[in-house]
């Protein structure tokens, strides 16, 4: 029998040193634990469909150089932080100094703050379930630590732009930690972009910790190029009466993987997870979500839509775990999938584990094609095939696109969707 592949030692070379000592120590500790880490194979349940797309060649092991310039011309409303290849670029960033809100790059933390953060990093993640997040913890070069004091409200969305430059092969490990104290509010937008054409891996981790009554909205837009393997994990822990909202919009690539884990740990907590995935060509996109109802009286609402064209492949795995004490939980999960070609594939799996006896838990998953009768109806009014297909496909995701609370993200997503429609649909 062939031995299971392990992580190449090339990935365990110490990275950049410009971090405060406590974070360097943490990183080293995490790195030591990764020696001989088995890589996911198709026998690894949570990587069953995706392991063959994960290509960790040694050339990806090198850290990408920080470029120190603003490569993409962005004009974003609100506040912004720009990361290039996992390192923050202060001159491209623009965010305020507000009472009760601290937005700091890891490299700028003093030792005490860094020690406090080091104790908390990873504590939203089930690291057995997110193997690749462990690699981030061993490799991050920089990161953003956002702290909101109680009742602090960030008045505009904070855009965090993660760009990787594929001028040389390598990998980047962006890291975000958001600590939202009770009754604070923030909207964090993560945009993942790339330039260049050499093979690159982005392994990113974002964590949110919500105090009592905190309200956090996270918008995630994944739009990197065909040279980029993107692996992301988002961990969320929610205290009583807090509300977390996630809007993920992702376009495919050679590998796109996102693990989103939410733990509802206090009574009255609520989360809403929306996701839209669009794949074409030979792209691959894998979303794994997990909602843990730990405390009683929490609500979760999850809606994901996949659209797969050509020979692409989309995967949705939605886990809901209702713990024994989580009575009166209300969980609703819905996943609908649209196949635009006979060569496309979508795999969907709801996973419900319910250990409490007084709960409402609903789930539904469907896979279908565009409705021929609807298409006939539209073209019988003189509407061209391309436009008719586009209208019907947009109809499939409109509800989710409309809910994205940040107009700039809606616009950016719509532009990419238009390209997708142009490439996918032809006139008769």
């Amino acid at each position: 029998m062939k031995p299971a592949p392990t992580l190449s030692s090339a990935f365990l070379e110490p990275g950049g040193q410009s971090l405060p000592a406590p974070l360097l120590e943490l990183r080293e500790q995490r790195g030591t634990a990764l020696v001989d880490m088995p890589l996911p194979t198709r026998k690894t349940e949570n990587w069953k469909y995706s392991s063959r797309h994960l290509k960790l060649s040694d050339e990806l092991a090198s850290t990408l150089p920080a470029t120190g310039k603003d490569g993409l011309s962005l004009s974003l409303p609100g506040y912004r932080v720009v990361f290039h290849n996992g390192v923050m670029i202060p001159e491209a960033s623009d965010f305020p100094d507000l009472d009760g809100i601290r937005i700091q790059r890891f490299a700028d933390l003093d030792d005490d703050e860094a020690a406090g953060l080091a104790e908390r990093l990873d504590n939203t993640l089930d690291t057995r379930a997110v193997q690749m997040a462990r690699l981030n913890s061993a490799r991050f070069e920089d990161g953003l630590y956002i702290q909101l004091d109680k009742e602090a409200v960030l008045d505009q969305p904070l855009f965090i732009v993660h760009e990787v430059t594929g001028t040389a092969s390598g990998s980047a490990y962006p890291r975000i930690y958001v600590d939202a104290a009770r009754h604070s509010q923030i909207t964090v937008v993560e945009e993942y972009l790339s330039s260049g054409a050499e093979p690159v891996m982005v392994d990113t981790v974002t964590e949110f910790v919500l105090g009592d009554g905190a309200q956090v909205t996270n918008v995630r837009l994944v739009m990197e190029g065909e040279n980029v393997q993107h692996i992301g994990a988002t961990g969320v822990r929610q205290a009583s009466n807090s509300r977390f909202e996630s809007h993920c919009v992702g376009f495919g690539g050679p590998l796109r993987r996102h693990d989103l884990m939410v733990r509802l740990e206090g009574e009255g907590g609520e989360c809403k997870l929306n996701g839209v995935v669009v794949t074409q060509g030979k792209q691959h996109y894998d979303n794994h979500t997990s909602i843990e109802h730990v405390a009683a009286h929490c609500n979760s609402e999850e809606t994901y839509r996949n659209i797969a064209a050509d020979e692409s492949h989309a995967v949705f795995n939605g886990r809901i775990h209702i713990h024994e004490d989580a009575q009166k939980s209300n969980a609703n999960m819905n996943n609908k999938n649209l196949l635009l070609s006979t060569g496309a594939e979508i795999d969907t799996k709801p996973e419900l584990e319910i250990y409490a006896d007084d709960v409402k838990c609903a789930h539904g998953a469907t896979i279908g094609q565009l409705d021929k009768i609807s298409l006939f109806y539209l073209v019988s009014r003189g509407i061209g095939r391309r436009e008719a297909n586009t209208l019907l496909t947009m109809a499939f995701i409109n509800e989710l696109v409309e809910q994205i609370p940040v107009q700039a993200v809606k616009d950016a997503a719509q532009l990419r969707l238009n390209d997708f429609f142009d490439q996918t649909f032809q006139e008769a």
């Binding site: 409705d371 109806y377 539209l378 009014r381 003189g382 509407i383 436009e387 947009m394």
Partner: protein, 257 residues
């Protein structure tokens, strides 16, 4: 305007239309009546270009142009309009967006500039009034949650907006109460014009009390077995289809409504 010669069509290998001949001139209103299963709806669908139906023989021309060579959308742009018996619900596409896209597709085809959102909204509101449909329906998904009558009015609304050369109305009266029937009939009568033809497909005579046809045809077993003037519809109402040697087990043309 429309000329159908020896039209044969089948679905999944079963022949439904078995040699239809029909001539419709501009300005005329024709009614096709017949029992269930006679091929009335198939004829409408074939004219509009539904690919589920295969034309195996015969020809259809619209103003001399071979319709069978055209895709559904091209037929629509040449002026064919089908009011569906069962209008399709399309949640997620607003009625307004749908209507404007259709109108602009037609305008582009004719080399006219597209209408912007504001211009179109004004037009759509006016036409909505003509079919007694609350403009609030423009904002809803296409036919989404509309009652039967609202759906039929939405079909006539589309016909009024698109101004076709030939409007085919497939069982437009079915499922309508008398008030809705009057509204729909008013809309259809507004469509009557000397450069436009209307083809009504119906099981019942009652629609013809409101929209008086110039010609009535009886379709049975995939063929037109009898043609006449308006008096033919009245005769069918009194005598049923039996005297034509046609079975209609489900219903005789209803005198009840």
């Amino acid at each position: 305007m429309l000329s159908i010669k020896n039209l044969h069509a089948s679905v999944e290998g079963e022949e439904i239309l078995k040699g239809i001949n029909l001539e419709i001139k501009a300005g005329e209103v024709h009614a096709i009546m017949g029992p269930n299963g006679s091929g009335k709806s198939t004829l409408s669908q074939v004219l509009a270009g539904n690919e589920t139906f295969e034309v195996t023989e015969g020809e259809i021309t619209l103003n001399g142009e071979n319709l069978l060579d055209l895709e559904t959308e091209e037929r629509a742009r040449e002026g064919i309009f089908l009011a569906f018996q069962y209008p399709v619900e399309i949640p997620g596409v607003s009625n307004l967006q749908f209507l404007r896209t259709a109108v602009n597709a037609m305008r582009t085809h004719r080399g006219e500039p597209e209408m912007n959102a504001a211009e179109f909204m004004k037009l759509a509101k006016e036409v909505s009034k003509q079919v007694d449909l609350d403009p609030a329906f423009l904002k809803r998904g296409v036919n989404e949650g509309f009652s039967g009558g609202e759906k039929k009015r939405n079909e006539i609304l589309q016909a009024l907006l698109l101004q076709p050369k030939l409007a085919i109305l497939d069982e437009t009266d079915s499922g309508l109460d008398i008030d809705a029937l009057q509204v729909v009939s008013k809309g259809v009568n507004a469509l009557r014009a000397k450069d436009r033809a209307i083809l009504m497909v119906t099981h019942y005579q009652r629609l013809l009390n409101h929209i008086v046809p110039d010609h009535v045809h009886v379709l049975a077993g995939g063929k037109i077995v009898k043609s006449g003037g308006r008096e033919l519809a009245l005769e069918l109402e009194e005598r049923g289809y039996g005297w034509l040697g046609v079975k209609d087990e489900e219903a005789t043309p209803s005198a009840a409504s």
